[in-house]
């Protein structure tokens, strides 16, 4: 199969994720969108690894998974803490810091 299709897919996923971060208000959804972006990158890495015929891209995908996992853990911890104090996961309600 033509690898460029995977690249288009990854670009689309990345855009969806980016858009989601900007548009959605629920912290957890925002957060999932970020993960989507990371995974879109993974897809790109793996596709490029295929294009170039070397393994780097696949190995990188590994590392990215780790990082994404670490991000998930930290992010969930922060959101949980906020949730405990406010009982809401909406980004909009976090509005004490205003210009």
């Amino acid at each position: 199969m033509n690898p460029s299709n995977y690249l288009y897919l990854s670009a689309i996923l990345f855009s969806i994720g980016a858009l989601g971060v900007l548009v959605r208000r629920n912290a957890i959804v925002v957060f999932m969108c970020v993960e989507l972006m990371l995974n879109a990158s993974n897809l790109a890495f793996v596709s490029f690894a295929r294009v170039h015929g070397n393994l780097d891209g696949q190995v990188i995908a590994f590392f990215v998974m780790v990082v994404a996992a670490a991000e998930v853990v930290i992010g969930l911890a922060i959101i949980m803490t906020i949730f405990r104090t406010r009982r809401s996961a909406s980004v909009d309600e976090a509005n004490l810091l205003k210009y």
Binding site: F62, V66, V72, V73, L76, M80, F83
Partner: protein, 120 residues
């Protein structure tokens, strides 16, 4: 190359067909007798307080388990290639992976001590 995955696809389609059959067959062959009580959530005694749809949430406690899972799952992801290539990596592999595992163990000890491994 891709043919290796073909059986998975075929089996997946078969599984999907079965799943869809199981889901939609009752609509066709099953009886349909309307009864409002039947459509209610199963309850016994008190009103179940949380409503999962529309406002209900997963209890936070489970996120903790999820986080721990992610940490260890990732460890596993790294352990596999190491294990497979272990014979070639020789002592270097052992040392590096030992460091890696010990690091994870340290975190594990920390979580344990901090009450992350308590359930009720």
């Amino acid at each position: 190359m891709g043919e290796v995955y073909l059986p998975i696809l075929v089996l997946g389609i078969l599984g999907l067909a079965f799943g869809l059959f199981a889901v939609f067959a009752p609509v066709v062959i099953g009886p349909r007798r309307y009864n409002r009580a039947k459509l209610d959530s199963y309850e016994c005694g008190i009103d179940p307080t949380p409503q999962p749809i529309g406002g209900g949430r997963f209890p936070i406690r489970y996120y903790l388990t999820a986080m721990l899972f992610i940490v260890f799952d990732i460890e596993i992801v790294f352990l596999y290639p190491f294990a497979v290539a272990f014979d070639q990596l020789a002592l270097f592999g052992l040392i590096e992976m030992g460091l890696f595992i010990i690091t994870v163990l340290v975190v594990y000890g920390y979580v344990w001590r901090r009450g992350g491994l308590e359930w009720d």
